[in-house]
Amino acid sequence: MVYIGPLEIPGRLIYDFLHIFILPGFGAILVLVILIIWAERKIAGLVQLRYGPLHVSRRIGGALQLVADLIRYSLQEFIVPENVDKIAYLMAPALALLFAVIPIAFMPTAPGIAPPIYVEPNLLLILAVISLAPIFVIVTGVASDNKFAFIGSLREAFLMISYEIPFIISILSTAFIYGTLDLYKIVEAQSKAFLGVLLNPFAALVAYIAILRITGRFPFEISEAESELVMGPYTEYSGLMYGVAMGIGYIKLYVYTLLFSIVFLGGWLPISSTGNIVFDYILGNIILLIKASILMLIAVFLRSVYPRYRIDQAVRLGWSLILILSGAAVAWSLIIRLIIWR
C-alpha cells in the first residue's frame, strides 16, 4: 500500500493543513452543515406540504438561509444572565464544539494518506474523544442556573450513558471482525471482503440508532424538547452562542456519520490508492463525504416522520433492545471471526 506516514513525503504538512481546514475539516464542515440544515428544512417543507426556506437566495432554492440565520445570530445581543457560572457558561459550548471536531484529526479519509495525527489504535482514540463531548453539554445546563436547562442536562446525562455504551460496543464489535483498531486497516479489510454493514448488520443498526440519539435527531431529540424544556441545556443562550449550540448537534452528526461510513460503509471504497496523491486525496474524500451525506440526509428526514420519545421510553429502549442488539452484534462478530473469516 501507499501509506504516507508522518514526514514521509515533503508535502506532508500541506496535507495536514488541507485535512484540517478544507477536506474533511472545517471547510467541509461549514459547507455541509449549511447544506444539511437547508436540506432538513427543505425535506420537512416537502413532506409538510409547503415550500421550506426560499426567500433568501431564491435562485438556488434558499440554500443560503442558514448564512442569513448566522448573520442574524451574530448581530443579536448576546445576553449573559446574572446568576450563571460565567466561565463554565461561556466555555462549555466552545469546548463541546471543540471535542466534537477533534476526532477528524485522527480519521484517515483518503487512500494512501495517513491522517494528521496518526496512531495505531486510532479508533479507540476517536471513541474516547467523542464520548467527552456530552459532558460539556451537561455543564452548560448546570451552569445556566435555569430549571429547564438543568432538567435538559440531566436528560442528556441519562441518554448519553444509555446510548454511548451500545454505540461503543457495536463499533468495537466490528473491530473484532477485522482484527484491528486502525481505521485505515479496517477500510483495507473491507476492500478485501464485504462492507462492514453486510458483515455485521446488527452493529450497523445499533450504531446508526445510537448516532441518532447522540446527535439529538428525531425521534430522540429529547434533551432539547421544545414543548417541554424550551431549548434544553441551551435555554439561557442567546445570540451567537445560541447559533453555536444549535450547530453542535449537526457537527456531531457529521463527525459520527464520517466514522460510521468508514467503519461500516468502507470509507473511500470503491477506489483504492492509485499513486497519484492529489487525485486520491480529492476523490477519496468526496466519496466519503457523499456516503456521510446520505446518512445525514436519512437522519434529518426522520424529523418529518417521528415525534420524540419520552425520556424513560428512550432510556428503556437503550438499555433493552439496543443493548441486546449490540450484544448480538458482538456475538455475530465472534462467530464470523472464529468460524467464517479465518
Binding site: 413532506v47 406540504l49 415550500y51 428526514f301 416522520v305
Partner: protein, 189 residues
C-alpha cells in the same frame, strides 16, 4: 354547593334521558387498534413520509410573489358613496367594533372608518338601507402609521386601491379546491 343528585327533584324528562341514554345504534364504538407489528408500522410511516418527498404536494402559495384572489363576495375593504348615503347613521349604530364615525358634509352625516378597528363583519354594509357602501375584495393593506388607518371622508369615498398603501404583490391566483391536491392555484384571467 353540592354535586349530589337528588332523584326526586329531577325533571322527569331528564331522568328518562339519563335512564335511557341515547339510541345505541347512534353510538359508534371506536376501538383502539391493536398494536400491530412495529416494524411494519415504522416502514409504513417512513414510506408515507417519503412519498411526499418524491411527489410534493404544496398547499401554500409563494406570497408575495404570488397572491390569492379571493372568491366572489369576499369581505374586503370598502368605500362609501357619499351621494347615495342618506345619513341615517345606522352603520354607526350597528358597527360592533365602533369603527365607524359620522362626519358632517353639506349638513348631512356621512360615515368615515377607522381601519384599525374594523373587523370586516360587514354589518354596516348589510344594514345600509340605500346600499351606499361599495365593497371590494381588497385586503392586503400595509399601513405604516397608526394615523393612516383613520380615514377622512375624502379617502373613504375613494376605492381602497387608490389610497391604501400596499405591498407590491405579484400575480393573483384563484384558489381551486382539488380532490387530489387539496388546493390548486390557477392564474386569474
Amino acid at each position: 354547593m353540592s354535586l349530589r343528585i337528588v332523584e326526586e327533584e329531577m325533571d322527569p324528562e331528564i331522568k328518562e334521558l339519563i335512564e335511557k341514554g341515547f339510541d345505541k345504534t347512534k353510538v359508534l364504538k371506536v376501538s383502539l387498534p391493536k398494536p400491530g407489528a412495529v416494524v411494519q408500522r415504522n416502514v409504513d410511516a417512513l414510506l408515507t413520509g417519503f412519498k411526499y418527498v418524491v411527489k410534493p404536494m404544496r398547499l401554500t402559495i409563494d406570497y408575495p410573489y404570488k397572491a390569492v384572489e379571493y372568491p366572489e363576495g369576499y369581505r374586503g375593504m370598502f368605500r362609501v358613496d357619499d351621494n347615495k348615503c342618506v345619513g341615517c347613521s345606522l352603520c354607526d349604530v350597528v358597527c360592533p367594533a365602533d369603527a365607524i364615525r359620522l362626519v358632517l358634509k353639506d349638513k348631512k352625516k356621512v360615515p368615515v372608518i377607522n381601519w384599525g378597528r374594523c373587523i370586516f363583519c360587514y354589518f354596516c354594509v348589510d344594514i345600509c338601507p340605500v346600499e351606499a357602501f361599495e365593497t371590494t375584495k381588497y385586503h392586503d393593506a400595509v399601513f405604516t402609521r397608526f394615523e393612516d388607518m383613520l380615514t377622512t371622508l375624502e379617502e373613504f369615498t375613494k376605492r381602497p386601491e387608490d389610497y391604501v398603501p400596499m405591498r407590491k404583490i405579484g400575480k393573483r391566483y384563484k384558489v381551486v379546491i382539488d380532490e387530489y391536491r387539496g388546493l390548486r392555484y390557477e392564474p386569474v384571467g
